[in-house]
């Protein structure tokens, strides 16, 4: 096979593989102000889901852990605590692991979908800000077959971290 063709296929595969972990901009329902963002402190991150959304406590813990890691990477002092620290709640409204086999067969089938509402609450439980975050993946072929929901969770976690950026 022509080496240039092989190189093009490899580059395309690498670019498409990055889609699962790419950032999807959060949609603000009630946005944090610039002042609130600059003084932001978080006390905890918790996750739950709508009834009917199939997720385990391990899934909640793993995603909250990923979100915490990305937030700490972009602003290390945000978990330093303090009296005004907010609590981040991730409420999943859709979590579809899709089907690797269906993705391998045809683009658009067996897609992975993660949708959630991210709320920042003060110590009294009053919502201070609210965002919608959604991430999906529907690429087919070998890349679709070898991409798992954990890869898409990485992109989702990065997208949630954007809320406090």
């Amino acid at each position: 096979m022509n080496p240039v063709r092989v190189l093009c296929v490899a580059v395309l595969a690498a670019l498409l593989a990055g889609c699962a972990g790419s950032i999807s901009a959060p949609t603000a329902v009630t946005a944090l102000s610039t002042e609130q963002k600059s003084a932001l402190r978080l006390s905890d991150i918790t996750a739950d889901a709508d009834a009917g959304v199939k997720m385990s406590d391990g899934d909640f813990g793993l995603i909250a852990q990923k979100v915490r890691t990305y937030i700490q990477a972009q602003s290390p002092s945000v978990f330093a605590g303090g009296p005004g620290a907010l609590k981040m709640k991730i409420h999943f409204t859709k979590f579809d692991r899709g089907s690797a086999f269906a993705r391998a067969m045809l683009i658009g089938l067996g897609q992975i979908v993660i949708e959630a509402t991210v709320t920042l609450e003060d110590t009294t439980g009053r919502p201070v800000a609210e965002y919608k975050v959604a991430k999906d993946f529907a690429i087919g072929g070998v890349i679709g077959a070898t991409t798992s929901v954990e890869d898409v969770e990485e992109g989702f976690a990065k997208s949630v971290a954007e809320v406090v950026k």
């Binding site: 406590d57 391990g58 793993l62």
Partner: protein, 153 residues
């Protein structure tokens, strides 16, 4: 053609669940805690729970579910870590073999061998404030027992 089919069938029988054969359905993991050792840790997923004292190695059963490791030690807040399994290389390779790939993948998925958790976990233990430690160490306050529960007659 009959010979090719027979060879494929034989290969399917021999190679069924290559990751199960090569990697097995169990996996040793090492758990360490920082900055202190000697924490009581429990690794768990949907097929079982495995206790280990840090630093230490324990053999766990692989599964499709998330692995949780919870470590506790007096004077420290509980340390938690979650890990998802990744597709093992043996499973990836065996899944690509024509004819037998589907059988391999099905066997590996059912045994949990298709996925592999990370081998090493370093879990941070944060010291509790002094007053919280004292409260945890103090005996529980005496309360009156319900009239009809533990009173012997």
């Amino acid at each position: 053609m009959t010979l090719v089919r027979a060879a494929a069938l034989l290969a399917a029988l021999l190679c069924a669940g290559c990751a199960t054969v090569l990697d097995g359905s169990t996996q040793p993991i090492t758990v360490a805690t920082t900055p202190v050792a000697g924490a009581d840790c429990v690794a768990s997923n949907d097929v079982g729970k495995w206790p280990v004292v840090s630093p230490g190695t324990v053999v766990i059963h692989k599964s499709q579910s998330v692995l949780m490791i919870l470590c506790s030690k007096p004077g420290y807040a509980d340390g938690k870590f979650y890990a998802a399994g990744r597709m093992s290389s043996a499973s990836l390779i065996s899944g690509m073999v024509p004819y037998v790939g589907l059988i391999n993948s099905a066997v590996d998925a059912s045994s949990g061998a298709a996925l592999t958790y990370p081998d090493y976990y370093s879990i941070e233990m944060k010291p509790l404030p002094a007053d919280a430690t004292a409260a945890a160490a103090a005996p529980p306050p005496q309360t009156a027992a319900p009239a009809d529960s533990t009173t012997s007659h």
